[in-house]
Symmetry: C2
Subunit: 198 residues, 2 copies
DNA sequence: GCACTTGATGCGCGCCACGCAAGTTTGTGG
DNA sequence: CCACAAACTTGCGTGGCGCGCATCAAGTGC
């Protein structure tokens, strides 16, 4: 995962991929949620210094390219939870892991707003956040000794957590909100674990 | 919502829409998750007895057409919960509502498998299930007297419930499973409300 | 160095979403 | 009963896009 842990080929690949998704997100933000159709594949490719055909080797749709960074972050949810001390209670560990994962650094409002409140991106955005569920469920199962094949608890909890992250994002973007994302996220996760009014 | 509660125009529109989404889902199932690319817009349209252009007036992608029935079902989640007696405890009401909504009739294995385990449909499928969250959150807020603008609890709970439904579907489709969907769904929802190993 | 693997690019094809402008059906008021 | 207006369907044309295929260039292991 660290750069010097892979060969030149892999590093170049990752670099191009990052360049493309960064360019895609940046251009999308520039046009805003309403002008997404104006962001052409050609624009993304040339902004990333790459041919349109190459762009297409990495992503098979503009939506996927735009949401790729968010998806990559979500993929790290499992490892974030595993990084917590083994003795820590589940809820506490999950909250700490998610707060660390999603608030380092504090998310970019424009980017998150672009992803979360553009209708054409809704499907990809959901995929991006849902991407956390698999790894998270595995990490939860490992931590609690549950059997992922029989117990529904790990997968359901992972889904609840991912859902809480989404809801927290939406609430954080709402006009008039002044709290830090960490605070909102903590509140949302606490709801997910209690499922009772807070 | 009832057929005779709308004029001819509305009924015809709904009929066309249903014809298209049914045709889309049927054709997709026939080709299986691997052959989705073989289902052309032209095929869906002619199977539904409608022109390709008309198909496009109802849906803006094949994926959307295929998942439309699932999406419509999810949209009814709010009303399903509101139909429960007012005094009933939240968890009990939610479980009853979801079981009634999603197991009447028992879901079609081929259809659900098509939707839930076809990579190209992942985004639309997530949208379809997530579509339940908004109405559900409103119904939960109404039932508990929470303020949707300030309290995260309704939205987070709705997201947990929708997630549990998805997880239940995946588990129910898993090879070797013999339980009824109602049973799996009940178990999943109970996990969502407790967030502790069952 | 040299053969081999892997990624980047150009080209071309089939498909698709959608604006536009008829043509056709449905609902309404005289 | 009829004409008119609103709404739906359809055909056509256009701009993009996803992707297979063949080729070229860069990186890798011996």
């Amino acid at each position: 995962m660290n750069d010097d842990a892979m060969d030149l080929r892999a590093r170049n690949k990752r670099a191009t991929r990052d360049a493309i998704s960064n360019a895609a997100l940046r251009l999308a933000i520039e046009q805003g949620p309403s002008g997404l159709a104006l962001v052409r594949v050609q624009d993304i490719a040339s902004a990333a210094g790459v041919s349109p055909r190459t762009y297409n080797n990495y992503f098979s749709s503009r939506e996927e390219a735009i949401c790729a960074l968010q998806a990559d972050q979500s993929r790290r949810a499992g490892q974030a939870l595993r990084a917590r001390p083994a003795g820590e209670p589940l809820e506490q560990a999950v909250v700490a892991a998610m707060v660390e994962l999603y608030t380092d650094p504090e998310p970019d409002r424009a980017g998150l707003r672009m992803i979360m409140s553009t209708p054409e991106l809704e499907g990809e955005a959901l995929k991006a956040f849902t991407m956390a569920e698999g790894p998270l469920a595995e990490a939860i199962a490992a931590r609690t000794g549950a059997d992922p094949a029989r117990d529904l608890f790990p997968a359901v909890t992972a889904a609840s957590v991912a859902g809480a992250v989404r809801v927290a994002g939406r609430h954080w973007l709402a006009p008039g909100n002044t709290d830090s994302f960490a605070a909102v996220l903590t509140r949302a996760l606490s709801c997910a674990f209690r499922a009772t009014p807070s």
